[in-house]
Symmetry: C2
Amino acid sequence: MPFMFTIFALIFLVSGEKSTYIVHMDKSFMPKAYSHYTHWYSSIVDSLKSISPTLNGQHQSPQSLVYTYDSAFHGFCAVLSKQELQTLKKSPGFVSAYNDRDVTLDTTHTFEFMSLNPATGLWPASEYGKDVIVGVIDSGVWPERLSYNDDGMGDIPVRWKGICEEGQDFNASLCNKKIIGVRYFNKGLLAANPNTTLSMNSGRDTKGHGTHTSSTVAGNHVNGASFFGYALGTARGMAPRAHVAMYKVSWDEGECASDVLAGMDQAVADGVDVISISMGFDNVPLYQDPIAIASFGAMEKGIIVSSSAGNDRVIGSLHNGIPWVLTVAAGSIDRLCAGTLTLGNRMSIEGWTMFPAPAVVKDASLIYNKTISSCNSAMGLSSVGYGIVICENGSFYEQLSYVSQSNAIAGIFISDEIFEDSYFNFPGVVITSKDAPVLINYVTKGAKPVASIKFQQTFFGAKPAPMVASYTSRGPALSNPGILKPDVMAPGTLVLAYWVPDTKTAYIGSNIALTSDYKMDSGTSMACPHVAGIAALLKGAHPEWSPAAIRSAIMTTASPFDNTGNYIRDLGLDRKIATPLAMGAGQVKPNCALNPGLIYDARPQDYINLLCSMNYTQQQIKTITRSSYTCSNTSSDLNYPSFIVFYTNGTTTKLVQKFQRTVTNVGDGVATYKVKVTAPEGSIVNIYPTTLVFGEKFQKRSYTVTISYQGDSSGEVTFGSLIWVEDNGKYAVRSPIVVSPMINTWSPFI
Amino acid sequence: MPFMFTIFALIFLVSGEKSTYIVHMDKSFMPKAYSHYTHWYSSIVDSLKSISPTLNGQHQSPQSLVYTYDSAFHGFCAVLSKQELQTLKKSPGFVSAYNDRDVTLDTTHTFEFMSLNPATGLWPASEYGKDVIVGVIDSGVWPERLSYNDDGMGDIPVRWKGICEEGQDFNASLCNKKIIGVRYFNKGLLAANPNTTLSMNSGRDTKGHGTHTSSTVAGNHVNGASFFGYALGTARGMAPRAHVAMYKVSWDEGECASDVLAGMDQAVADGVDVISISMGFDNVPLYQDPIAIASFGAMEKGIIVSSSAGNDRVIGSLHNGIPWVLTVAAGSIDRLCAGTLTLGNRMSIEGWTMFPAPAVVKDASLIYNKTISSCNSAMGLSSVGYGIVICENGSFYEQLSYVSQSNAIAGIFISDEIFEDSYFNFPGVVITSKDAPVLINYVTKGAKPVASIKFQQTFFGAKPAPMVASYTSRGPALSNPGILKPDVMAPGTLVLAYWVPDTKTAYIGSNIALTSDYKMDSGTSMACPHVAGIAALLKGAHPEWSPAAIRSAIMTTASPFDNTGNYIRDLGLDRKIATPLAMGAGQVKPNCALNPGLIYDARPQDYINLLCSMNYTQQQIKTITRSSYTCSNTSSDLNYPSFIVFYTNGTTTKLVQKFQRTVTNVGDGVATYKVKVTAPEGSIVNIYPTTLVFGEKFQKRSYTVTISYQGDSSGEVTFGSLIWVEDNGKYAVRSPIVVSPMINTWSPFI
């Protein structure tokens, strides 16, 4: 099930009652009298208190200053009444304030599926991410899990500030050379819910989500990992030698934006190299999105942020569509959790099952007749005796439920569904309609047809793979549709990683719940840390690369093809060919990202130029950029490695849109690239020049892209690509091009 | 469940029809013309065919000679009509013949429980059984099980004849340096059932029994062994460096005495050092008991045979009560497969559970009221909702069944039963009546009582342990009551060892069966290989010891005390103090057996003297001894390390019985022993002399025991002991003494 939860809403409270606000300040206004910004913020909040009367005789909260922020951005979080907020807005240095708001969390053969290997490519080039520090903003860690063992880990980098110290917000006892920092942030949560008792007031994970994502990013080598016997093998994170710093902001009791901000702010202050954040804020403009705000500061310091696209399935539902972060969609992998069905005639069929126990179904009678085979009622199955019942033409989950309540010992389900969830509470196997005739033939012609099912099988090389996950949130990004989002796709479906103890991860029958050390979970939450890990490896291999360069390398080397050599298909689109609105540039190819040939770079000022083009107020822009900025070079045309143009749905007007791009040669020196364009259907794409000649490494060359297209009353999304191909065939630098309707009903920021 | 099965009976067929007979021959009658005994036997059988007409026009079986035997005894197995049998009986050299008959099969912290350790005692002294070969007569092996890995194994001893060769009866492919021989025997089975198709016509195990017993004898070190998470730890056989030779005689399709004989005969011929046989023939005199016959030959060659007492529970049901073998009873160990019940008030109670999956039962409502707490009807539990139901005052298995069909998510069962079986098909835990008040108090006084149960726990040090298993067959031995049987007790209850794949080892709900690599099985079948392993270790440490010496060392050092320091109790006797009729000399103490101080030895002639006293015919004795023998020294008083006397139940006549014993000093040389007697209640035991002085090693000393006792109309069994205590306290050589009624209704050999 795509893992996801909506955090309890801190809706504006009735006037007079207090609420939690995140306040952005311009530090340059700080009077010299204050030795530290904390004192300044405190004095501001204190002055509000002295002005505003205590309402309704309520006691004032002694802890109304919840957080101060100084790394990713400047400001504080405070519990204020509306009246206090109005006063605050008049203070010198005030930039903006918004309510602490909802956050939506999203959710291992994967390294093999992505061809990471010890012999060649990104793993050896980066020494598996040695010395790189990944900050994970999530629900904490369960440090006893073997993924966090520090065998073979290098020493903690000397630059690291976030050393584990016991005390406020720290959990030294959870740390070693793998987990080099565990901090936790819940003041916002407690401010909003003063009577809450936390089930676990420490960095220890009680949800599982943070343990899963952080072990996916950088888990150490663990043998014999499996989920109830499925996917048995070696578990290992993307960057198995990278260090992890966990910033716990997600709690059993909920989450608050102010805590997320505090966690990211601290990660930036501590000096992580990469941030992985598998959660997002829905329906917010960039200047009110804590992740957008904190990640701007991170980007300025050279920290790349990988984030999840969300699990909302539909067009335009994507979150974290932030121009300066990497936005990751989720896809499937080529692993099949399987059962082997062997008929009495020795024919055997591989099917899908995740029944979570080593069930024995051996030489049992097959039960098949047309009156019961829809398996859609308890009555229908009431006559079924001890045997294996065959179900067809129905909904799998409904059939599974009825079979599990019957006297059958197992079910065979004929269905072409591809499953993205591990729920399978009764012995059985799903076989395809293509394989079904062998079974039906045998069962209808044999005298006493019998079969056996062997569970806990795992097969690799399933085709086609990857496919875009049905649940992954689709672009465009409402907060800034002009930048094509998501950026790339990574494995997100049925990803195996460690989970926390005593939580329900599987079911048998109607009321038996089981736990397991590992969980096979699905969601963009699982895809995001894969890309964070790859970013960490790239950071290890190319310490000088900017966040934009790392993102560019990952995007331009991503592949639109699956393991059959055909275009990747979309499970959310009836397995039609996936568009970049679902998967961005395509499936990440980490070893290719190591040597991308060309890089689309971007500096902080480029993002400011973009913000300047966005109809934001000065205060809104400053909320993101914090410091003063100039809009002298306003441009909506960010040097991004992808292209998207919009038409108004239902119109057929001819449109022309022009882009300028600059690429930096990060290849070996002298090189010539020629462009290869696949235009979206119905569009014309012109590139100038069509050849780029580089005389040396780090040389830059610019080109323009002109897309001529027209609206379409069918509202279809068309897409193509632009590839700079190096003359010797060494590099192919690919960018997706999308022509999309601008959906009228979008009302992003209600 | 005490593993046991009765093999299909080959009852005498109607006259004229053929049956399988085991025929004993005196080889000294073989005419010189025959170069080999096989030719002689063939010619005898052929001659019968030529004489006897084909009955009813049936085709004669071309394979009427099923086996020839030449190692453990001389003779053959053939399919004969009654008429042919009558003719055969007149042949020169004929000794005896009997029908191929029924055999009854019987079924790891154990090494720790028995204090085997690398630092001191029998393991280092024997180098873990290095170079010793144990022949296991059973259902074959599953060679891929890690117990059979040959890491650290020494080379195959050069004396070993039974090398694995592919071909008839051999399975080289199943062999390595751990399993150095795999042979299989099914001609008797096929002769009796000509139309049978064997499911696995090789030495490969399909039942699990042979894999379990052979890995218990000599399994190599395996980490992470468990039964569905219970008893998790390192699995290891008793003699982890001993070699195993498997003689498969037990089949999915049944077993035949002739195959058992053939297997034992081959084991003797191959030159094994120890034989482990976890099966037995019920209700047969020694001269018709294939194990008695084959083991006599083994004993003559210095091979010690360890056998199982059987799982028939009642007095006089014991099989393998053979004077020249070791007969092993089963007891419990100190391991508890457990669940931890934690109440909402944080009190916690350890209970018994073997629910075979990592169930999550967390903070669930406790349901307790007097109207349903007997949990003995579906109706009663129909009102139970989602929660943990508390059951009391009933039969556990009945309550478990009803709870598993209700809507409850788990059960708590208040019961003082001690379980010898792993069946536990629904989440729950059994707590004792002593622990129950804590729970009942909480549930009746709390407002919203909740509890959690943690499964897959294992605790060691359970007390008291061992206890005699309820199922273990009790002596006396019907075939020769004058020798006290069983000899000793070893762990037999819930013994963890490898099992074969795809077999049902546990259940969830009413129709889900599970398999596991390991099985926790119970039976004397599990106890026997423990003692075989100890015998192998003793053979390694004292290669010169005779089978009787090894048995004596094991018996005289066995302990009648449990881990609380009190007398071992009997689960089959309401936990009253166990008698030697249940456990022989007591629980084996392998490290003590290494240095027993004194030995009660016996030579083949001593057993012949005993047979001479048994009212057997010359032919019957010869069937066992094979060769000529003299009865010049007839004596029922075998030099055995235990004593039993009988009275006629209901009489109160005074009786006196005298025994003579000779002990050999195997201690360090000069030693003085003084006797310490605990007379059975109501009896007087006199020893003469009461001091034995030894001047050197291997010196022998004799003493007499006079037991004066009288009958008892209550029919009670009384018991005591006789201990020779070395003056420095270094050795205590203990023999049990039993005064038992001779039960009138025994009719052993119907």
